[in-house]
């Protein structure tokens, strides 16, 4: 198990190194430099700025400097915010996104679990079909459609929620709800499938025939056993969350990491784009790693096989 975890960890680091290298090479093809956003400069000043960003050195040296910086946790400096370290730009905005993300996951988990449990217990009823329809819509309707519609109906027409900015907790509710839709949909579909499988098991029949109340059977036997494979949806959830923050923060003008990423693309602020890309990649790779290791812990059959099926 330890060997397997270590192997996966090395694999993850290799993936991150490849992503970092690929991003760096891609950035060399792009137009734009730190000078573009500044006032007119003399040739001397331009050279000074280029030296500050190491742009005067040959490419291999630039690459080596960048990778060495990465190893120390230094992502370089922003082009736009004159000389501000990328790590500062990211960490100023990360808490807002993290708050939104955690709140969305909580809302999504609670809604998804309830919908999934109801569907499984009342299989093939109207409630089940309704929940299935909601789940399909939640997965299929993108956040950039739900977002504006929510702003329009809940914000403008009904006036319940503020439609933009991030000034109080109340401002965070609508964006979190929009983010939570796809999470809830994934969790609901998953919970239903898993619960139906567990409901057919012998030990559930036994628990029922022991005379346990319906609630006790569901909570103690069915729910507990269907929740174990919850890790399998860790990766799709991370993906939904990262894409979601980009869209939702832009729509609701929330000063988070996703809004910064989209803004940096428009401003050609490459060091920030690279830094944020790596941050997203770390999220993904970490969720893969955790998922794979948890698989082994939960299901010993995978541990013996030693690799993903």
């Amino acid at each position: 198990m330890l060997k397997y975890t270590l192997k996966r960890l090395v694999n993850a680091l290799v993936v991150l190194a490849i992503i970092a290298t690929a991003t760096w090479f891609l950035m060399q093809f792009l137009p734009g430099s730190p000078i573009q956003n500044a006032e007119k400069l003399t040739a001397e000043q331009e050279a000074q700025v280029e030296a500050q960003y190491n742009l005067d050195k040959p490419l291999p040296v630039q690459y080596a400097l960048y990778m060495a910086g990465l190893a120390r946790g230094d992502l370089g400096n922003s082009y736009l915010y004159a000389g501000k370290p990328v790590t500062d730009v990211i960490f100023e905005r990360l808490p807002v996104s993290a708050f939104l993300g955690v709140q969305a996951i909580l809302i999504g988990l609670v809604t998804g679990l309830s919908l999934g449990i109801i569907s499984a217990l009342k299989q093939n009823s109207i409630l089940d079909s309704g929940a299935a329809l909601l789940a399909v819509l939640g997965v299929s309707v993108p956040d950039f459609v739900i977002g504006p519609l929510a702003q329009y109906w809940l914000g403008l027409k009904l006036g319940i929620f503020p439609i933009a900015f991030f000034e109080s907790w109340w401002h965070s509710v609508l964006p979190s709800l929009v983010l939570a839709t796809s999470i809830a949909a994934v969790v609901a579909t998953f919970t239903r499938t898993e619960m139906l499988e567990v409901l057919g098991q012998d030990y559930v029949t036994l628990a029922k025939s022991k005379g346990l109340s319906k609630l006790a059977v569901v909570v103690r036997h069915v729910l507990r056993n269907s929740m174990i494979p919850l890790v399998t949806i860790l990766v799709p959830l991370t993906a939904a969350l990262v894409t979601g923050t980009l869209i939702v923060e832009t729509i609701f003008s929330i000063p988070g990491i996703g809004e910064q990423f989209v803004r940096s693309i428009f401003d050609s602020d490459y060091p920030v784009i690279m830094g944020t890309t790596l941050l997203f990649a770390v999220f993904f790779v970490a969720s893969y790693l955790i998922q794979d290791v948890l698989y082994g812990v939960i299901d010993p059959r995978i541990r013996v096989a030693g690799h993903r099926a």
């Binding site: 694999n11 993850a12 290799v14 993936v15 490849i18 992503i19 690929a22 991003t23 891609l26 093809f29 792009l30 399909v136 819509l137 997965v139 299929s140 309707v141 993108p142 950039f144 459609v145 977002g147 504006p148 519609l149 702003q151 329009y152 403008l156 499938t193 139906l196 993906a239 990262v242 894409t243 980009l246 869209i247 832009t250 729509i251 989209v262 693309i265 428009f266 784009i273 890309t277 997203f280 990649a281 993904f284 790779v285 893969y288 099926a309």
Partner: protein, 312 residues
């Protein structure tokens, strides 16, 4: 004979054997059902999938013929007729800030979105199918190396790849397809590899190989036809993903550039003016949702019809 509850005693004399030749026993009386007609029958019984399929055909037809149904063109700018609200007699979907008819623009946008989705799907299947088949067929060292590569690719988020590719390439239909399709094929490659590994152990495969069939024939004649149904199911899920990512890239400004439009670009424009003119958002959004929902539902239906064991 009495009809009361009297016990009947059965004696061998009461029975006579029906004589049937060995040939007759083996005779097939009903018409044979192939795998595909069987699947078609199962699919037809699934009402949701049939409705979804019908809606997809309708959207396809409108994407092709929609702009010809009106008297105006999607790019003609007429400032006198800005922001017309939808009406049955004038502009069915209203007009935008340049007086362009939204009905035409929505269907031209749908055409662009579906075109990109088709290109992505072809790439996905072409690369995924050959990669998976080769990896599974050769096994051993080749398979090991090819699977390590896939493992690395899977770790890279598709979103990041798409954004980076679009920063470098000129925004356009082909570059968008490449950006979206670049890592999408790994899922189908893995599915097909798994299936090929399983098929390789079966008797018909061994029989064909003993008869001297070469690698090319084995792969194209025996393996690929048997994994084809996986390809069809994957295709159904690739289309909504591609439409979604195209719309997402257009939404953050990296996609189709004006005056051209895709569904995502239209939704982005519409969202900005939604407060005064909700019709600019609602129509493209409705078409996008119809496409993604219907392909997913049809995909579920096809999965149940083609591979009943996968039914959830």
């Amino acid at each position: 004979m009495e009809t009361s509850n009297r016990q009947i005693t059965f004696t061998p004399e009461l029975f006579e054997p029906v004589e049937r030749s060995a040939e007759e026993v083996e005779k097939i009386t009903g018409p044979p059902t192939s795998f595909w007609s069987d699947a078609w029958r199962r699919l037809k019984r699934n009402r949701i999938a049939v409705v979804a399929g019908g809606l997809i055909l309708l959207v396809l037809a409108l994407a092709v013929a929609g702009p010809w149904l009106t008297s105006y063109t999607p790019f003609e700018q007429v400032l006198e007729r800005q922001y017309k609200t939808p009406s049955l007699s004038g502009f069915w979907f209203g007009t935008d800030q340049f007086g362009r008819g939204m009905f035409d623009r929505v269907w031209v946008g749908t055409r662009v979105s579906l075109y990109i989705a088709a290109l992505v799907t072809i790439m996905d299947i072409g690369v995924g199918m050959s990669y998976g088949a080769i990896s599974g067929y050769y096994g051993g060292k080749v398979d090991n190396i090819m699977q390590r590569i896939v493992e690395i690719l899977v770790g890279i988020p598709i979103l990041v790849v798409a954004v980076l590719t679009m920063l470098i390439l000129e925004p356009g239909i082909l570059s968008l397809s490449i950006a979206i399709g670049a890592t999408g094929w790994t899922t189908s490659a893995r599915l097909i590899r798994g299936q090929v590994l399983r098929l390789k152990e079966q008797e018909f495969f061994l029989a064909s190989r003993s008869l001297g069939a070469g690698t090319f024939r084995l792969i194209t004649k025996h393996l690929l036809p048997n994994v084809f149904y996986i390809v069809i199911i994957t295709l159904m899920y690739t289309v909504p993903t591609a439409v979604f990512f195209e719309a997402f890239l257009s939404f953050i400004g990296l996609g189709i550039q004006p005056p051209n439009a895709s569904l995502g670009a239209l939704i982005n424009d519409g969202a900005k003016q939604m407060q005064q003119f909700p019709h600019l958002l609602i129509y493209p959004a409705a078409v996008l949702v119809t496409i993604t929902v219907c392909f997913r539902l049809l995909g579920d239906g096809l999965r149940d019809a083609l591979d009943p064991r996968m039914r959830k």
